[in-house]
Every structure is written in structure tokens, then in C-alpha cells.
Homo-oligomer: 214 residues x 2
Amino acid sequence: MTAASTRNRRTAAAPPARPGEDGASSRDVLLQTALDFFSTRGFSGTSIRDIANALGVSVSNIYHYFGSKEGLWLEIMEYSVKTLPARLEGALADVTDPLARFEALVKAHLTVSTSYQRELRMIFIEQDRLTVGGDKINHDVQRQVLAIYIRELEALRAAGIVRTEHLKILAFNVLGVINWQLRWYHGDGPLPADDVHREIIGFILNGLHGPTPG
Amino acid sequence: MTAASTRNRRTAAAPPARPGEDGASSRDVLLQTALDFFSTRGFSGTSIRDIANALGVSVSNIYHYFGSKEGLWLEIMEYSVKTLPARLEGALADVTDPLARFEALVKAHLTVSTSYQRELRMIFIEQDRLTVGGDKINHDVQRQVLAIYIRELEALRAAGIVRTEHLKILAFNVLGVINWQLRWYHGDGPLPADDVHREIIGFILNGLHGPTPG
DNA sequence: GTTTGAATCGAACGATCGCTCTAGAGGCAG
DNA sequence: CTGCCTCTAGAGCGATCGTTCGATTCAAAC
């Protein structure tokens, strides 16, 4: 969102970075640009020089701040994707009714997805290219999120709202709708994000009832 | 491993063998191996040497059969993904009732997804790395499939089953559930594919009813 | 027997990859 | 001024990338 504007400010003449002055340090600009590339081209589809050249800086800069290409990827994960499970749990803190909890869960998930769209895309684009430690973050986050959904779905089944016994499949279906939105929603449509979210939530909450017997 | 033992004896004037015609020709083995790599590592995450070394053959072989790395990718698309819209239309040929049509559409889509899981994954993994002509196939297929779903959803709205006016969002939600299955379903679970499909269809058909007013 | 052509290999090309190294520029403490 | 530290640039390293080329094998065609 702000990457393009900050980028133009410090291109050609290579001025020294002034952290805190204009709010975007060299480090932040590198992160934003890397985010743009990683989220659209994937890890192996993005080269260090792609990022450096887009900003008109040297590749040494990236290694100075992040140590390696994978370190840059992990740095983005650290402040965004890794916080997703805690954010979802936070949205459930004050809600007791099972159905209201689930709706709050989906709503919070959609809100985070809109805020961190590019970052979350990084999870789902090309997952077998990082070293063991790097992949572990992706898998851990996805596993934690899935566990949250299954736990809430169990409460819904206890309440008689969900009838199927295959809660894992149901959770995948719900997550499919939510995560697919990362692909098709670009914010340039005529509908505000809230209306889009309402449509998605309506679809999911109806889908919970599962296959009609008979 | 099997490439060295398979010597093909095909007639000189004929073009390369069609897939599935005789045993496993060198060409077919190359296609299958490329499919394994492309569907898990993406286009830029797969190197020509990855494929060649996995089979113990020379990289020249790939260029002999497919001309280029992108030609190999497109060859896979040609016999699989590109046929998806026609297959979906074919499933609708004899059905008239709108709801039955939609159910047949989703069911056929799931069947094709199970048969061509790796091929369809290639669509959704890394989409900005091919040249203009290569990307066009991906976009065309996705656009055609979306058009089919929207057309059927319009019939459902005319029949009073679908109430929302945002059919495009609804179509994306349905496609999200179906396509997300490409990620999580690996066929190694305890449930047969038919049961999984039934769960997914049940979720989608209930989701069609959309947000409950009030 | 000769010719043809598809199938295959191994070497090598230029480009690009992730990454390292050295050095210079500028701020700041002594 | 001197030394230290952070930030940055640029050259260059070895490896790998997609691709090309020449040569060889082998079976069918003439």
C-alpha cells in the first residue's frame, strides 16, 4: 500500500537512510518490496537482485539487514503470519455462545486476511523451497489455525448445529473459502470489504449444516 | 530408473506417441516426472536438470521432445487442464433442473480434480513466471470455469434457491472449496474419495442459501 | 550396404543465482 | 583529529540456470 510511494523517494541518487525521519527506513522499504515480490512470484521466483534493483540499491544491503534470502522471508513471516493464531484466539476471548464464537472466528480471520493479504499469500505459494526451519513456521501456523477451527467445530457439533462427524473436512472447506479469498479479492471491486466479508460469512455459516440427509 | 530400460520402437513418420497409448515411452516418463516437480515446486522452482537427473537421462532429451522448459509445461496443460471446461459442460448436457445441474457440475469438478490433481495444482502455483502465451492458458481456463459457475448460479437465483445478488463472490466461494481440496486431499486418509466429495458437496449446496436475512 | 533420421549423451555457452569480500562515506564519541 | 560503528556500493566468487551444439547409436528405409 505504501511501498510504491516510499520507493520513489529514495531511488536514483542513493541517499543515506534516515531512520525515523520519514517513517520508512531502508529496512522497512526492503521488507515491503520483498513482500511484493515474494507474494506474487514466490520464493524461488524472486531473486535478491530483483528486490535490490527495484529499489536501486545494492544487494549487500539485503545481506546487511537480513543475512540471507531466507532470513528476509522469515522476517516477514515473523511480524505477520506468525501472529495469526494468537489474533484468532484473541477474537474468541469474550464470546461464549458456540455459534457466535465461530462467526467471530471467521470474521476475525477475514479481517486479518484483508490486512495481511500479501503476507498470507506467501504461506500458500510454493512451500517446498525453504530449509527445514523455514518450512516449519508455515506448517506450524497452518496446523495451529486448523486446530482452532476443529476445536470450535466440535463445540458446534455438541450444540447440534453441525451434524457431520468429519470435522476436519468441514474445517478444510471453511478454510478453503477464507483462503481462496486471498487469490481473487484485490480491493478494486465496487463492493466494500465489509460487504464481501458478509457474503463469505453467510456462505460458510450455511455450509456448516452439512449434507442434507435423504 | 525406468527410462534406460524403455526403448521405444515407434514408426519414423509418426509424431511422438500420445499419452497412455502404449507402455511408458521416454516422452511419457518425462511428462510424468515433470508433472511431479511442477505440481510441488512450481515452474521456477523446478529446473530442467531436476527432471533429467531424476530419470538419469540427459537434459538434451527434454529439449528434443519439448523444445523448451515452457514447452514442457504447456504440453502438460494441453492434455489436462485445458480440457476442464469441456468436461464440466459435458456433465451438464443431460440435466435440466437447475439444482441438479449445479450438483452435477460440482460433482464433475471434484471428479476431475481427483483425476488431475497434480495438473490442476500447476494452475494455482506460481502464475507470473511464464511468457504471455503460457499465462494465457491459465487465465483462459480459470475464466471459462468461472463463467460456467456464474451462469449456473444465475439459473439458481431465477429458481429462488440463491438469494444473493453477488453471484461472482458466491462462485468464488464455491470454487474456493473445490480448489482448496487440491491442497489438503492426498488420498491417504481413511475416507474414500466419494465420501469426501459428498461432504464437500453438502457444504457447498448449503452455502448457496447465503446470508440469513436479519 | 548405404542413407536417413530419431533418440540420446556429454560438453559447453552466456546469463543469472545466492552470497562474500573489500572499501568508502558519514555520524558520533573520545 | 582520531578512531569506531553503521550503512552502502561494487566487484567478484563458485554454483546453477536454460539452452545449444556436435557426436554417437541404432533401427528402419532405400
